[in-house]
């Protein structure tokens, strides 16, 4: 099971300063019981229900649904656009974090505060705003379309929405790491005759890679399942720009619970597997760099 940490908080449960105090404070039993009961009731039992339902379909049934061309296309579009958007965010998010941490310019604090907008702005609002902005008549879409580049109602539009949704994950994970990189290392590299480009590329960025990868993973995980901001700009043409979560709702409206469940299970399994790979990669990177 992969852990998807909240981007705003460091992982918990690792090394502790005061590991010796064993159950000194009261309330262990009560808080354990309450936490497990509530977790089970709201999250675990309902989620397990999906897998129980899916197991009722059997492998053959699941496989038949997964290999339907429309389902396959939707899964490809969801994972493809989420990967593309996360990759784009990994680059641009790191650039934004760099600029916010290292440079001083007017309006820096405003931009810094604005990074969290996608966390706060409801996805449906983001969806209709991005559609109006990047549509044929929009402030930006107009120019892009004049240049022969159509964004809204294409997979590119989906990617734009996912870039919006995923941006804060990368910036907020990379920012603190970048702020803590040691200036001494850069000075040492410079004293030893390294050019600035070399110093940044070989000294600064390697300490940041694990954080960038973590941000990438979070942005990807959020993007695969994203619904509200995407459905407006996607155009939702089957086989072309129809995402997997939308196909689930379509199947539900047709009372095709088996189809909806099969797609949901495919999404859960695929994203868990991918996150596991990314987490392992990240752990290995962090270990090789002596931890970040």
């Amino acid at each position: 099971m992969s852990s998807v940490p909240n981007p705003l908080t460091p992982p918990v449960g690792g090394a502790r300063a005061s590991g010796r105090q064993r159950r000194v404070l009261p309330g262990f039993g009560l808080s354990l019981g309450y936490t497990l009961a509530w977790l089970g009731l709201i999250v675990l039992i309902p989620l397990a229900g999906v897998f129980v339902y899916a197991s009722g379909l059997g492998w053959n049934g699941l496989w038949r649904i997964w290999t339907e061309p429309r389902v396959l296309a939707a899964l490809k579009i969801s994972f493809g656009t989420a990967l593309a958007a996360a990759a784009f965010n990994a680059v641009m998010g790191t650039l934004v974090a760099w600029v916010l941490v290292r440079y001083r310019f007017p309006g820096r604090r405003l931009f810094d505060a604005m990074i969290d907008l996608p966390f706060a702005l409801p996805t449906a609002v983001a969806g209709i705003a991005l559609t109006a902005l990047y549509g044929g008549n929009g402030w930006i879409g107009r120019w892009l379309e004049a240049a022969g580049f159509k964004v809204a109602y294409t997979p590119v539009g989906i990617t734009v929405a996912l870039v919006f949704i995923g941006l804060p994950f990368v910036v907020r994970v990379v920012q603190p790491v970048l702020a803590e990189t040691e200036g001494e290392l850069e000075e040492a590299a410079a004293t030893l005759g390294a050019g600035r480009w070399n110093t940044v590329w070989k000294v600064v960025l390697p300490t940041v890679w694990p954080a960038v990868l973590a941000g990438f993973a979070l942005a990807f995980a959020r993007g695969v399942g994203e619904y509200g901001s995407v459905i407006f700009i996607a155009g939702n043409i089957p086989m072309v720009s129809e995402i997997a979560p939308l196909l689930i709702t379509i199947k539900l409206e047709e009372f095709d619970y088996a189809g909806a469940t099969a797609i949901a299970v495919a999404m859960l399994l695929l994203s868990f597997a991918l996150l596991l790979v990314i987490n392992t990669l990240q752990a290995r990177l962090a270990r090789r760099r002596g931890g970040t």
Partner: protein
């Protein structure tokens, strides 16, 4: 964090007053133009321009556009769209759902953080991963989950439809029947609680771990009961972090779309939350009205951002380390 260290005044282009955020290796003002630990000035400007351009195109313009589109039909149309009965019903429902969801997750968050941060036990990491699980689940899947259980073909449907007769010792015949859950308020609340499940817990865990248990132990040794230590010591210590978590949880609860869309049934005036109302108006080509209602959500998002930023600046020392500026 210390604002400045020694003579290391930050920023070649320090047009802003010195910042609190540390940039340890930032170059000194008036240093040689080609300082070995900073980029040439034209590179800096280029990177800043790229970052700002990107943020404008993806964050600021969409936000501005919401307000521009909402007011395009004039202020009268704007007010009419907000005062319409269906819109008012959606506002009430959204506030009600948020008001139920946040306290539920608040109690859970405090309990889970108390458990994880103040005690050592086996399987802690797994528990934390499980609490994070809803972050990795698509909101639509979260909605689907409750349809499979409580929907018209779900396992719990007989319980909702007809109820069950139980003959219990002492109580005798008991008729147990659940209220309608899917396509009604309980379903919307359940889906929202699921989606916002980790928010407050994840905010408090690192904070309470940083603070350790020393103060609580001191209170206990002075004769306080466990509850007294919690109410008088722990709670005051975490109050700003708690507010921070409530803010994030509330914002997401008000804006949740995917999960609620699946379980709500879109019954106008009854099970439509504000985001769903925006969708319906938009799909009916009532663009101005859709954007007018959307401004309410955008405004609440802006209030959230302002409060959050204020908390980070004003009470940064009582938040988890990563939020300090």
């Amino acid at each position: 964090m210390a604002p400045q260290t020694g003579g290391n005044v930050q920023g070649v282009i320090a047009l802003d007053p010195p910042q609190l955020t540390m940039a340890p290796s930032a170059p000194t003002v008036g240093a040689r133009p080609a300082s070995p630990t900073s980029e040439p000035r034209w590179v800096q400007w280029l990177l800043i321009a790229a970052a700002i351009g990107f943020l404008l195109a993806f964050l600021l313009l969409p936000l501005l556009l919401v307000f521009a589109e909402a007011l395009r039909g004039g202020i009268g149309a704007f007010l009419a769209a907000i005062r319409e009965p269906d819109a008012l019903a959606a506002i009430r429902l959204t506030l009600l759902v948020t008001a139920i969801t946040v306290p539920l997750n608040l109690v859970f968050g405090v309990a889970a953080a108390w458990l994880v941060a103040k005690h050592e036990f086996r399987g802690k990491r797994i528990l934390v991963s499980l609490i994070d699980l809803p972050f990795a689940v698509s909101p639509v899947v979260a909605g689907l989950v409750f349809i499979l259980i409580f929907g018209a073909h779900g396992w719990a449907w007989p319980l909702i439809d007809e109820g069950v007769q139980l003959s219990l010792p002492l109580l005798g015949q008991v008729h147990l029947q659940l209220p309608k859950i899917v396509f009604a308020l309980p379903g919307i609340v359940l889906a929202t609680v699921f989606v916002t499940f980790p928010f407050i817990a994840r905010e408090l865990m690192p904070l309470m771990e940083q603070q350790g248990s020393d103060e609580e132990l001191a209170a206990l040794s002075l004769g306080a009961s466990g509850w007294q230590a919690f109410w008088r010591v722990t709670l005051p210590n975490i109050r700003w972090g708690l507010l921070y978590g409530v803010l994030l949880c509330g914002a997401r609860a008000m804006g949740e779309f995917g999960a609620v869309s699946v379980v709500s049934g879109h019954i106008r005036g009854r099970t439509n939350t504000l985001p769903l109302h925006v969708e319906i108006l938009y799909n009916e080509y009532a663009y101005s009205a859709a954007f007018a209602v959307a401004t309410l959500l955008a405004l609440s998002a802006l209030v959230t951002l302002v409060l959050k930023t204020w908390l980070e600046w004003r009470h940064g020392e009582s938040l988890a380390a990563t939020h300090r500026h």
